[in-house]
């Protein structure tokens, strides 16, 4: 496998994690446009720990993600009172505050960026992807997952049957910011160099696009979206300078023709029954 292909596949893993981080918050019917901010906190914290303090990569990643999710809790408490467009704008504002903060924060290089974190490999990235997918899968099958489904379908009914809506929302916000923190740490240790521009609002927006166009109602959608949107720009390389125009146009067209995403809830259920049917036939 060439270095180029390896790079694309490794970053695909990071994109999948970012899409999952958006999906976590979507589970509570909120869309965050600030996940690049959590990614940045995870990236800078873990990079600082491993470069300046010589910490091994695993604890550095974990502490980075915990820092991101702690900030996520702090910011989530006021933000989760907001709804719809205001929540989107609030998370967007948060993301920009974090990005501009790291642009001027001298201990992590400020505008010059931060050099030095090493050690993330492709298997390590996909190890994390696997762990989180299993986590999301378990969550979707658990009682907690059903509560989240109820919350998403109708928050008022959910709270009237005794679900603690605020706590559920805060919980998934924690999970989302943790996942984004892991993505950021892995990104930093794979790229060897980070700067505040890596955590631009477009990164958050792309993660949302992955979730929406992959399918909003199942984490498989986030997975598929992460794969498609990592490969699409590479496939379009033959377009030369007009590549991004074609890419943007494809996105606009997808939004027009498939606004409900590629994978729907029904498809997952049907696929499950289909696979189950094969096993039943095989055993009988």
């Amino acid at each position: 496998m060439s270095v180029y292909t390896q790079g694309v596949i490794a970053l695909m893993g990071v994109n999948i994690l970012m899409a999952l981080s958006v999906y976590a918050i979507v589970m509570a019917d909120q869309v965050s446009l600030g996940n690049a901010g959590f990614m940045a906190i995870g990236a800078y914290t873990s990079a600082y720990l491993s470069v300046k303090l010589g910490m091994p990569i695993f604890p550095a990643l974990l502490i980075g993600a915990l820092a991101a999710s702690f900030i996520g809790l702090l910011i989530g408490i006021p933000l989760l009172r907001l709804e719809g467009l205001y929540f989107v704008m609030g998370t967007f504002g948060f993301g920009e505050v974090v990005r501009t903060f790291f642009m001027i924060f001298e201990p992590t290089g400020g505008a010059y960026g931060f050099r030095g974190p090493v050690g993330a490999t492709m298997p390590m990235i996909y190890g994390w992807v696997l762990v989180l997918i299993i986590l999301f899968w378990l969550l979707s099958r658990s009682r907690l997952g059903r509560s989240l489904d109820a919350l998403r379908d109708d928050a008022e009914v959910a709270s009237s049957i005794g679900l603690n809506v605020t706590l559920l929302k805060l919980g998934v916000f924690w999970l989302g910011s943790f996942t984004a923190g892991i993505a950021g740490g892995l990104y930093a240790h794979y790229m060897f160099y980070i700067e505040s521009g890596n955590f631009h609002i477009l990164v958050s927006a792309m993660a949302i696009l992955c979730v929406i166009l992959g399918g909003m109602y199942t984490f498989w959608g986030a997975l598929l979206g992460g794969v498609i949107f990592s490969i699409l720009p590479e496939v379009l390389r033959f377009m030369g300078g007009w590549r991004l125009s074609v890419y943007g146009s494809v996105l606009v067209l997808m939004m027009i023709f498939r606004p409900s995403g590629i994978i729907s809830r029904h498809m997952v259920r049907n696929a499950g029954e289909w696979v189950g049917g094969i096993f039943r036939k095989a055993s009988s």
Binding site: L85, M89, V97, F101, M103, L244, S245, Y247, G248, P259
Partner: protein, 286 residues
């Protein structure tokens, strides 16, 4: 010194006001955000540059850039808003982010990604007004912005078409039943919104003289900040919000560290969203 900075702040702020006004017109009407607004601003600046390069006088280049940016925004309405009018509010938001990428790329292909220099078409004269030094560019910017702002404010308040706009923004279905052609109102509003961004683009380029395809990103974000501070959907609020941001930015650069400019503005934005989402002049709706 302070008065001088105040004038500079007002000049810069008036371009932000034009951007915020365009944002708030669309958001007030459809309850949806047009993220490509900043890129329309950039496109307007480049159109103005091209017309000025052809040797046109400033006012003509300004008007043509306005029309061009307005047409671009009509295309945005057609592709990113009209097919998605009944969809989740996020769909048009993301669709316009994608359209913004297209606009940046097209501008890069046409004008290059290196900073383009704006030609000096008009002689710059400096006037000393007491302690304040005002250039003719400042006067052009302030006069154009104030003219447009007052014009739009009065248009929306007093004309029957303005009434149709307000009706559509309040209850589209009722307005439609009462004989308002909603599609026409929406297209017109988008055109005005884009035209304002285009003017702001040319005016800003006159001050900074250099433009790149990526200047729209920050300007769009700042326009959104100004809109929220003034109160979403409130035209006069957007104007005042823009002026405030311009003054804060210039004062920060003059008396504090320039590097802290954006974190202060975005921090202010976040504080408003969390503690006062209706803005300074908005009404409590949501």
């Amino acid at each position: 010194m302070f008065l001088q900075q105040l004038v500079n702040g007002l000049t810069l702020g008036s371009t932000y006001s034009l951007l915020a006004l365009g944002f708030t017109l669309v958001l007030g009407l459809l309850k949806m955000l047009n993220i490509a607004h900043g890129d329309v601003f950039m496109f307007g600046a480049f159109l103005g540059l091209s017309f000025a390069m052809l040797g046109m006088p400033l006012y003509l280049a300004l008007i043509l850039a306005m029309v061009g940016a307005g047409i671009v925004t009509i295309i945005i309405e057609r592709l990113c808003f009209r097919p998605l009018r009944k969809a989740h509010f996020l769909m048009p938001l993301l669709s316009t982010i994608a359209f913004g990428i297209v606009l940046q790329n097209v501008a890069t292909q046409i004008w290059g990604s290196e900073p383009s220099r704006y030609p000096q078409t008009t002689e710059i004269a400096q006037f000393q007004l007491g302690p304040v030094l005002v250039s003719s560019i400042d006067i052009i910017i302030l006069a154009t912005s104030i003219l447009l702002m007052v014009g739009i404010d009065q248009f929306v308040k007093r004309t029957s078409f303005g009434r149709a706009m307000r009706a559509t923004s309040e209850k589209p279905q009722t307005a439609s039943l009462l004989g308002v052609n909603i599609n026409w109102v929406i297209v017109f509003t988008f055109f005005v919104s884009g035209a304002l961004a285009g003017v702001a683009g040319v005016l800003t380029a006159l001050v900074y003289l250099q433009i790149t395809p990526f200047i729209g990103i920050r300007q769009g974000l700042i326009g959104m900040v100004a809109m929220v501070i003034g109160g979403v959907g409130n035209l006069r609020g957007a104007m005042i919000g823009g002026l405030m941001i311009g003054i804060i930015e210039i004062m920060n650069d003059a008396y504090f560290t320039a590097g802290y400019r954006d974190i202060i503005l975005f921090g202010l934005f976040l504080a408003f969203i969390v503690f006062k989402p209706e803005g300074l002049f908005g009404t409590k709706e949501q």
